[in-house]
């Protein structure tokens, strides 16, 4: 695990607090001193628990001789790493030099980003006599990181995104916190040169750093809630009010669930804690007084310390971690996690998967439905910041996001984005989205297998048991999906198995224009194709070879194929249902299965 502290001389929360009823003053000594005191306290707590940290010097702190001297002392006495961060750039010196109040490095123009990098790294060198090997911010776009690597090749690690901090975080912050960056991996990764969210596919695509997400998040709660409530950040947990009587066992539960990820990732798991001083304001925050803010931090750090003493945790600085990570990480190796609910008291599980081709999530509460799909294979070049089309929207686009775009349940019209399967008999049809189940994870050589417990589907006069299995072959970029009818109480009944994906594209809750998406069915005998125009057109053909959607807006080809005789179909949507559907279906009697492969690829 890595622990990061930063002397953020003018933290937004403390500064806001101090400004109540007063004019802005970035040099207010009370704020500077309080922030430095908190940083010192955080460092002390880590060291008392036998843990080393990465001190990420903010630009503002480089002008503070006390902050610089603490960093040097702790580097020398405790082995802490001295890195740099682009958080906390705002201070008088920055204002004078750059004439800007912008606080997010990724939102500057590219020209300004270059100037700021040179200024921050130059000032760092002036203070310490060397360049940092780790850096970070809430988000570091690929263009920014590429520039840093070009000018300062010594950099090997960066805090590069905040997992699923997108529209939900924006909403949570009264639509005033512009960290729109959904779509990245939840655990460290080697980013692609083309887009920081994407996992590099090979050496030529490797951007040259190991990226670390800002905080280890709850992979279920944050999918449907604010990121800043649920993670290995004790004050986030206080913000989410996940405590009672000043105790928060939830923090340890998250840490332990991350530790358990060794089961899915060849013996490796990772955790990080990164709390800025603003979260431990002496005047309290999130309905908590300072004593509680402090206690929660001490308790969290004590748990890490205890794990280290037991030999269950290794504390690495960011750069040390980057070296260790690279030593044993083939580019194609996926990151997998079968996450279980540790908050709401359900038994719900979600399976998260990320590799250089895609990131997706399966929800066992919905029979293994795919509720999130990001086409990393497209490696979208999508610069952000002033002067770019995306501007603040730094998210990586989805094809499926069932919470932003309805999923199985829509308000009585149209369809939502989800991948699932329907089992039918005559006029009856049941979607596996309605069949809650649980799953287990296993491996067969280089194939990761997610096996769902069988579910029972009750038709009017008989019932069947259906099992779903997902098989993920490393380096293939495809999801193999098996829907198997295990048995039927009526062996003579015909059963249709209809695998489908209803998708769209976007980065937010709001619909995008689907005009021009090409839907194609390719069979052994013929091909049918249409360009999306909201006309409700449908088509199906026998002996399907593949059903495809080319989505030029996100340069992605989405396709489904099967290895057995089956019918393929597509459905165009309409303006009140801005979705497209691809499907493959076949009929079996009593027993049988449908095996399909879902793939995302770069369109051109």
């Amino acid at each position: 695990m890595t622990i990061i502290h930063r002397p953020e001389m003018v933290p937004e929360y403390i500064q806001k607090e101090a400004e109540q009823g007063k004019k802005e003053d970035l040099t207010r000594s009370a704020v500077l001193q309080e922030s430095l005191d908190i940083f010192r306290t955080q460092q002390q707590i880590a060291h008392e628990n036998g843990l080393r940290t990465t001190i990420q010097m903010t630009y503002a702190s480089l002008f503070n001789t006390e902050a610089v001297s603490i960093a040097k002392e702790h580097h020398s006495n405790f082995g802490d790493e001295i890195g740099s961060t682009f958080l906390g750039i705002q201070c008088n010196e920055f204002r004078e030099k750059f004439k800007s109040k912008e606080l997010a490095i990724w939102l500057f123009s590219m020209e300004d980003k270059r100037k700021i990098v040179d200024e921050v790294f130059g000032k760092f060198y002036e203070a310490f006599g060397f360049y940092p090997t780790s850096t970070g911010s809430y988000y570091m776009d690929a263009e920014l990181v590429s520039y840093i690597k070009e000018k300062y090749p010594i950099v090997k690690a960066a805090v590069a995104t905040c997992w699923e901090e997108g529209p939900k975080a924006y909403w949570n912050a009264n639509n005033s916190w512009y960290t729109l960056m959904d779509g990245g991996p939840w655990n460290p990764w080697i980013p692609s040169k083309h887009n920081i969210h994407c996992i590099a596919s090979d050496e030529s695509d490797d951007i040259g750093i190991v990226a670390i997400p800002h905080i280890s998040r709850d992979l279920m709660a944050v999918f449907d809630g604010p990121g800043s409530y649920y993670g290995t950040h004790p004050q986030n947990t206080l913000r989410g009010m996940v405590y009672e009587d000043r105790e928060l066992p939830y923090f340890k539960n998250i840490v332990d669930q991350y530790r358990a990820m060794i089961k899915y990732n060849r013996g490796y798991s990772y955790n990080m804690m990164f709390v800025g001083p603003g979260w431990m304001s002496k005047s309290g925050r999130w309905e908590s007084d300072y004593a509680f803010l402090l206690k929660s931090y001490q308790d969290g750090m004590a748990y890490y310390g205890e794990l280290k003493k037991q030999g269950k945790l290794q504390d690495l600085t960011m750069s040390e971690f980057a070296d260790v990570y690279r030593k044993n990480r083939p580019y194609t190796r996926p990151e997998c996690t079968l996450w279980k609910d540790i908050l709401y008291g359900s038994k719900r599980q979600m399976f998260w998967y990320a590799d250089p081709y895609m990131r997706f999530c399966l929800d066992m509460n919905q029979g293994g439905a795919m509720v999130d799909l990001r086409p990393y294979a497209a490696k979208l070049i999508r610069p952000c910041g002033v002067g770019t089309k995306a501007l603040q929207d730094a998210s990586y686009p989805f094809l499926v996001q069932s919470l932003y775009r309805a999923g199985y349940f829509t308000h009585y019209a149209g369809e939502g984005a989800v991948m699932s399967c329907k089992i039918g008999n005559g006029s009856e049809q049941v979607d596996l989205c309605t069949c809650r189940t649980l799953a287990s994870f296993s491996e067969e050589d280089n194939i990761r297998v997610v096996t769902l417990d069988p579910v029972t589907i009750e038709f009017a006069n008989f019932s069947v048991r259906v099992q779903t299995i997902f098989r993920l072959t490393e380096g293939r970029g495809e999801v193999e999906i098996i829907r198997r009818i295990l048995d039927s109480t009526n062996p003579e009944a015909d059963l249709s198995i209809d695998e489908y994906i209803t998708a769209c594209y976007g980065t937010t809750e709001y619909p995008e224009d689907l005009t021009g998406i090409r839907l194609t069915l390719t069979g052994t005998d013929k091909t049918v194709s249409i360009d999306y125009a909201y006309q409700c057109r449908e088509s199906e053909i026998e002996n399907i070879q593949s059903a495809d959607a080319i989505i030029p807006q996100v340069n992605t080809r989405l396709s489904m194929r099967t290895d057995a005789p089956a019918v393929g179909y597509f459905r165009e949507g309409f303006a009140f249902s801005p979705m497209y559907t691809l499907g493959i279906k076949k009929t079996v009697k009593a027993k049988g299965e449908l095996r399909t492969w879902l793939k995302v690829a770069k369109a051109d």
Binding site: N174, M241, I342, Y344
Partner: protein, 69 residues
């Protein structure tokens, strides 16, 4: 009526919190009550705390130490 100020702690509006919006409230010292600039919530500290307790109830496992993964 004097301006609203920050209260003893940064109490967020409990009604906005229910819909996961963090909205700091202002405190009216003359009436000893908090009020929200976004929704129509008005209430004293006790009422805010009562609603915050209600908010926490959705976390059924908030006090359970889970070690089986």
């Amino acid at each position: 009526m004097a301006q609203g100020r920050k209260g003893r702690l940064n109490y967020r509006c409990p009604r906005c919190l229910m819909r996961e919006i963090d909205m700091d409230m202002l405190y009216d010292k003359d009436k000893d009550e908090y009020y929200c600039l976004r929704c129509s919530f008005t209430g004293d500290e006790k009422e805010v705390q009562r609603l915050n307790t209600q908010f926490r109830e959705k976390y059924l496992d908030r006090m359970i130490r889970i070690t089986d993964f």
